[in-house]
Symmetry: C2
Subunit: 356 residues, 2 copies
């Protein structure tokens, strides 16, 4: 882990109260930064005090959204070890996103080393209360001062850290989801499978419109036929129909979640049949009508598993499992968090420990 | 034009040589900035020295692409007047983009006043050589330091200016365009009709892939059926088929160009039939085969009118009008630039003059 110089911050921020942690508002004392130029490639990796970014107003990021990002977490175990969960998956996806956005690839192993070194330095920031963690946000911004529509010639890769509270304050809790029929998040041939700003910008409006009616997030349908289930806000989605698990296949417009991949692996390990395929929402509706829709849940880094207690679809309301958390959802949540916090066996070697 | 305080820059930059102007690389001495907060609304409008923007690394613009922008030009006439071309159209579109991106609206008249005041201050920067102009780039960035996916609570509206050279150095010149069949720019329900970063980020890859084979830009097809013509890079597109002009209708995924609107008005004024409708590229191919595709051209602020000399579509090459500029393209170019530079009559009152 050599070769990444550290400049320590002279003042340490006051750490927030562990039971008042809000997602994504507080950041630690340090950040990792690395620059890119066409001549030098990625250069000057460094850890430095958390500080503002200064850019020319013509920087491409302000105009043409040439950005990518990732999201993962560091977990503190009861015996004070620090765990990352499948960080190599995030870094692979970062480079797939980079490819789509014409951003030069980043050495994945080096990026993980950088994250480890930064998290290790900020170990005191990892909250210890149950369900809390340190959220890790790597991202790339295009910094060239040029307002022609073309890939930037310079970039910064930055990693910031934010202590986050338990997603479920009073135990895992089902959410209500509105099926979106007007707005579209992504379409094959677009940027849906990349983790890039524009996808999230596109999602704000639909989100805002349903929030008023008590829905936590929207379920996106495909942008071509407006029939097939894609994903939910920042989660992939699963259904248990008549004992079998189904989830939309990776079709080019869905983000390939690390949690999604882990859920599929665990379910198969437990002997479930998991089908990745096209799923019309009408099929979900019919399964529900026939009493065969046993569970529905979202899967993503932030919430781990988010049981879905109700869908609204046009004029229909589908209450699932009496609005309660299903058995499979619960077992997945317990197992995944158990692996992450080191209280459960890790049969697939998913944990990467950060050593002193 | 009161109420916008000006802080003058103490050092003036050296102005670039008029015949070496490149698009979007040089910026003037001053910029306009205005802030937004939920409590104050848009406040603190000011003109100040052109300078870097300093933002928290967690600013929403770096992560979720919540941005919009506009593009228009100031033209210097032979008698040293300064012209804007239909700026109210750009400001209307800015607010339509704002609506889609959950960004608070900006007072359109005030924004035009701000642009006028800034351009007036930078009058010496407007190049005078034929075909040159001062490009005006208004844009909004989301500045809140919060990495939850939600609309920002704070923004900056900024206007920067860049002197730009003649788009055609040796007279108006046809370009080669590749019809894109793999990548998609936008889809109804998405953000295609908004001028927001993500659309341009999504376009980089296709652009990069065709540039190597000598194509200037790609022609986007619709993202649903992958059949219908949408637009070209940063231009709307028109075809002259058997004496009649056709252009794709505004379907929710195409940007509504100010030039497009002006072209339609002029053509109708001249007695042409203009049909705004769905156009399958196959129809263009067939018209070409039958010798009825007389002209094709792009229309946008940067190039004004860009004749298309060749389309490549799968394995086909369609050479149009022997690769030469068509009559209608030429007449539109001459008339539009004539109105802009004040050498032609302005029958629709499109010019807004900036007075001392
Ligand atoms: C659009 C979208 N889908 C799915 C996910 C879930 O991915 P992961 O499990 O890697 O967090 C996320 C969050 O990262 C997301 O932003
Ligand atoms: C995607 C796109 N289409 C069309 C246009 C043409 O619009 P306008 O004529 O207003 O410049 C532009 C440029 O602004 C554009 O970016």
């Amino acid at each position: 882990m050599g070769s990444i110089p550290i400049t320590l911050s002279s003042e340490k921020k006051k750490k927030p109260n562990q039971d008042q942690l809000e997602f994504g508002r507080t950041f630690t004392d340090h950040m990792f930064v690395m620059d890119y130029s066409n001549e030098k490639g990625w250069y000057n990796p460094r850890i430095m005090p958390y500080q503002s970014i200064t850019l020319d107003p013509a920087a491409i990021v302000f105009h043409y959204g040439q950005t990518v990002f990732e999201g993962l977490k560091a977990y503190l175990t009861q015996d004070e070890k620090v765990h990352l969960f499948r960080p190599e998956k995030n870094m692979e996806r970062l480079n797939r996103s980079n490819d789509r956005l014409c951003i030069p690839n980043i050495d994945e192993e080096f990026a993980i080393e950088a994250i480890k070194k930064l998290v290790h330095l900020e170990k005191d920031w990892i909250p210890s209360a149950p369900g809390t963690s340190l959220y890790i946000r790597p991202f790339v911004i295009s910094t060239e001062a040029y307002i022609g529509v073309a890939p930037s010639k310079t970039y910064q890769f930055i990693v910031i850290l934010s202590p986050v509270g338990a997603y479920y304050k009073e135990g895992i809790n089902p959410v209500k989801i509105a099926v979106e029929s007007k707005y579209v998040r992504a379409v094959p041939g677009g940027t849906g499978e990349a983790k890039t700003g524009g996808n999230y910008a596109a999602s704000l409006k639909a989100q805002e419109l349903v929030a008023g009616s008590g829905y936590a997030q929207v379920l996106w349908l495909d942008g071509v036929e407006r029939k097939y289930v894609e994903e939910v806000g920042s989660m992939n989605v699963f259904f248990k129909i008549n004992g079998e698990i189904v989830t939309p296949s990776l079709n080019g417009s869905i983000l390939e979640g690390v949690t999604r991949n882990s859920v599929i692996k665990l379910l198969k390990h437990w002997g479930y049949t998991v089908n990745e395929r096209k799923i019309a929402f009408e099929e979900i509706y019919n399964a529900h009508k026939d009493g065969q829709l046993e569970e529905a849940f979202g899967a993503g880094t932030a919430a781990v598993i988010s049981p879905i207690g109700e869908f609204s679809w046009n004029e229909h309301k589908l209450v699932i499992n009496n609005g309660e958390t299903g058995e499979v959802s619960k077992k997945l949540y317990d197992t995944l968090t158990g692996i992450q916090y080191g209280t459960e066996q890790d049969p697939f070697d998913w944990i990467v420990e950060i050593n002193d």
